[in-house]
Amino acid sequence: MNDPMNWLKLDTKQTVEKIIKTIHHQVRTILRKKGVIIAVSGGIDSSVCAALCTKALGKENILALSLPERDSSSDSIRLAQQIAGALGVKLQIVDIAPILKGARCYELQLEAIRRVFPEYGEDWKHKISLPSILENDRLNLSFLTVQSPDGESKSSRIPLQAYHQLIAATNLKQRTRKMTEYLFADQLNYAVCGTPNRLEYDQGFFVKLGDGSADFKPIAHLYKTQVFQLAEALVIPEEIRKRTPTTDTFSLPQTQEEFYFSLPYGQMDLCLYGFNHNIPSAEVARAANLTSEQVERIFKDIEKKRRATIALHLPPLLIDVVDEINDIIQSTVRLSKEV
């Protein structure tokens, strides 16, 4: 097997060229749209996608959206302005909190949290997290952490009903964002860019009809480590490149690692790459600075998450195949890759 240092190393120039050609082809020829809507969170994935779309279609054909809500980090808008400014694209800021309030999102959120912590006040903060996968063969059980205004925090395992309700409320945030993106896309006859990286796409870390929806996803084939390589090549502002990836869904700061992957992305990338390429666990362990036993556990977790989230990838299931439409879909997908 080749040197682990090269497993995830990209020829960034060639990769950027291929992606921008493909975006141009997909947006203009396949989707027949004039430009692109992209929601920028201030994170690295959406910033890289925005830069790639700008290179592919020109800054005048990109509209970046910043879609904060009540629980968003205070950095979100500022970093969205920073990336839009660096790329020279238009930015529209839409506060989605009133829509979420109207849909009872915050009410449902509060009710679910109070089932676990009755003392939780509206000025408290919260997040959901998973224990580390490295410590033992732990079950993937979520914990709810709350923090009072004076900084005192408590954690507890979250019961099923409260978990479902809290996830339903937070998924509504992602779905409201996507609905807003399509509102602008319809008005401008633009396509919507989805921004998942390979880890998120492969492991089902997205919301169906929320951040999982898009007309095209230009970095879904790239490991997170590779997205960082592109970010450097595309000269994404340093503050965005150095920022810890977060979910920006809960009111307490929360990394993607503690919410879903249970492992820092660099190690997770190496494990996913090793698993995808049938590299022995001992070799992956050496590369990722883990034990073989830990890597075996992560391999099992990768498979489990794929199986558990497959419904997110599926189109609506039909009783019978409608061949006429199916044929067009397949030939369009084939054409979309032929640049």
Binding site: N136, L141, I158, K304
Partner: protein, 86 residues
């Protein structure tokens, strides 16, 4: 006093009724429920909530490991041990 067979039957019945959606799937006592995907992470949450309520037990965070919950046999043995301690 609940005997081991009753515990196993309670666990089996709950899994059968809540997680076996395909009538052709056979539930095997020593098969990995998590490994073959009979129970996913939400299912584990459901199973644990049910067992705590049914047997009036509280599971500590350090007990929530595959070693105690991966197969029907392991769940039964774990519950038996917890109940014996009461």
């Amino acid at each position: 006093m609940i005997d081991q067979q009753d515990i196993q039957k309670t666990v089996r019945d709950f899994i059968q009724q809540n997680f076996i959606f395909d009538p052709n799937t056979a539930l095997v006592n020593d098969e990995s429920l998590l490994g073959v995907g009979i129970i996913d992470s939400t299912g584990v949450l459901e199973l644990i909530g049910y067992l705590e309520e049914k047997f009036q037990l509280q599971f500590g965070d350090d007990e929530l490991v595959a070693e105690n919950f991966d197969t029907i046999l392991k769940i039964t043995a774990f519950l038996q041990k917890k109940l014996d301690k009461q």
